[in-house]
Amino acid sequence: MAATATAASVPAVALEGVGRAYGERVALRDVSFTLPPGATVAVFGANGAGKTTLLRILAGLLRPHAGRASVLGAELPREAWRARGRIGLLGHEPMLYRDLTVRENLRFHARLHGVPAARAEALTEQVGLAARADDPVRTLSRGMTQRAAICRAVLHSPELLLLDEPLANLDPGGALAVAPLIGRAAGPARVLISHAAEAGLAEADWVLGLRGGRQAIWAPAAQLRLADVRGLYA
């Protein structure tokens, strides 16, 4: 029993009985799990099951109404500031200013996070956007916008990645290009929302299944079959 917790033993995410309501509508109820650092959890659930709410709570954007939540060792919401800058969020929206160029957007985020501009340039090259870096984001196709959004999400080398359908709109070339940034081999712990059950299962160490805001499944991915996941959408 170590007297002090080493960095490796602090779980990436630790939730206990977490709940969140919007007025009277309960979006999440009694969600509990622990994600070890560097591991991936795939989150499955039908529309409205609470996946986005969960992601936003982990990002520190929503306050949990019940239970205890800690992300990267920081207790939410009291210590949320400690985790800021160590989490990367890729949501539905790209979170990029449509009238600014890719380069300007990434440089802005780099300044906010205290990251050198050179890293933004390197990422742009890596995902294959170098040719379009000076075009406003609104002129890009959805696939290109997604690549730019991925750059934005990993710009500050986060320890935890929160990914909502990261491969949506990407062609096979794009998916290949971003794999080293957000794939399993990239390193950080990942919370991955996906509707592609097979691909999601293959990517993940753990599986969290939500139904109606409640936790229906929490198990290592290796122990689950496709049918178990499909049952969530029934």
Binding site: L61, L62, G85, M95, R98, E104, F108, H109, R111, L112
Partner: protein, 224 residues
């Protein structure tokens, strides 16, 4: 903090230069209102309190346009989320946006005030320039502070373009009073009259009170 404020201001000025949403609209609106006043009042030349009143009401209405647009990009394009997840002081957003709104107002006034002098003003305000500048700066600061706070308050609501002027205009009445009272002697028909400096004190007090207040409560508008 300064770095964050600088980054935010730079981003907003880039956006404005690219999309031209605020400053040209505010400017065109001001000139249109001057023309409307000419026809509405059926006067070609104004002086004294009437001139001061027309000038300040126009500037205030133009400022409302700027307020309405100030946080729209943040709201519609996920800018709030991106900012909230960065390891920065959240009040930097307030400071940056207030400075941006202030600079928009200054940019508009650089053209609108000379336009006013040419179109509607009877006497020449030449000698009163320094005092006029002082009033403009202090009043703009007040409008920028209140405008930023109410802009942030209103942008998340449904009837954003209505709510913002409805709340901001009564709050800015003391600014209109003080600015108009201070400007009126400068635009008097017989040449500039002595300047009532106490109105500058009122403006400074207003700026200080609302500046501190806004600084204190702004963070609460950003959480979800």
């Amino acid at each position: 903090m300064t770095g964050t404020v600088a980054a935010l201001i730079r981003k907003d000025l880039q956006l404005e230069r690219r999309a031209f949403e605020s400053v040209p609209a505010m400017l065109m609106f001001s000139i249109s209102i001057f023309v409307l006043f000419h026809f509405g009042l059926d006067r070609g030349a104004l002086a004294g309190d009437l001139a001061a009143g027309v000038l300040w009401v126009t500037l205030l209405l133009a400022a409302v346009l700027g307020m309405n647009r100030l946080f729209v990009a943040e709201r519609d394009q996920g800018g709030f989320d991106g900012f909230l997840m960065a390891p920065v002081d959240r009040t930097a957003l307030f400071v940056a946006k207030a400075i941006v709104l202030f600079s928009f107002l200054v940019a508009v006034e650089l053209v609108a005030v000379p336009a006013f002098v040419v179109l509607l003003l009877d006497p020449s305000p030449g000698q009163a320039m320094p005092e006029l500048l002082a009033v403009l700066v202090l009043a703009d600061a007040g409008i920028a502070v209140v405008g930023t706070l109410i802009g942030a308050l209103g942008v998340q609501t449904r009837a954003r373009d209505l709510i913002i002027p409805l709340i901001a205009l009564p709050l800015l009445v003391p600014v209109v009073i003080a600015a108009a009272e201070a400007t009126a002697p400068l635009l008097a028909a017989q040449g500039a009259e002595p300047f009532p400096a106490r109105w500058l004190a009122v403006l400074a007090l207003y700026d200080a009170v609302f500046g501190l207040l806004a600084y204190a409560v702004f963070d609460f508008l950003l959480e979800e």
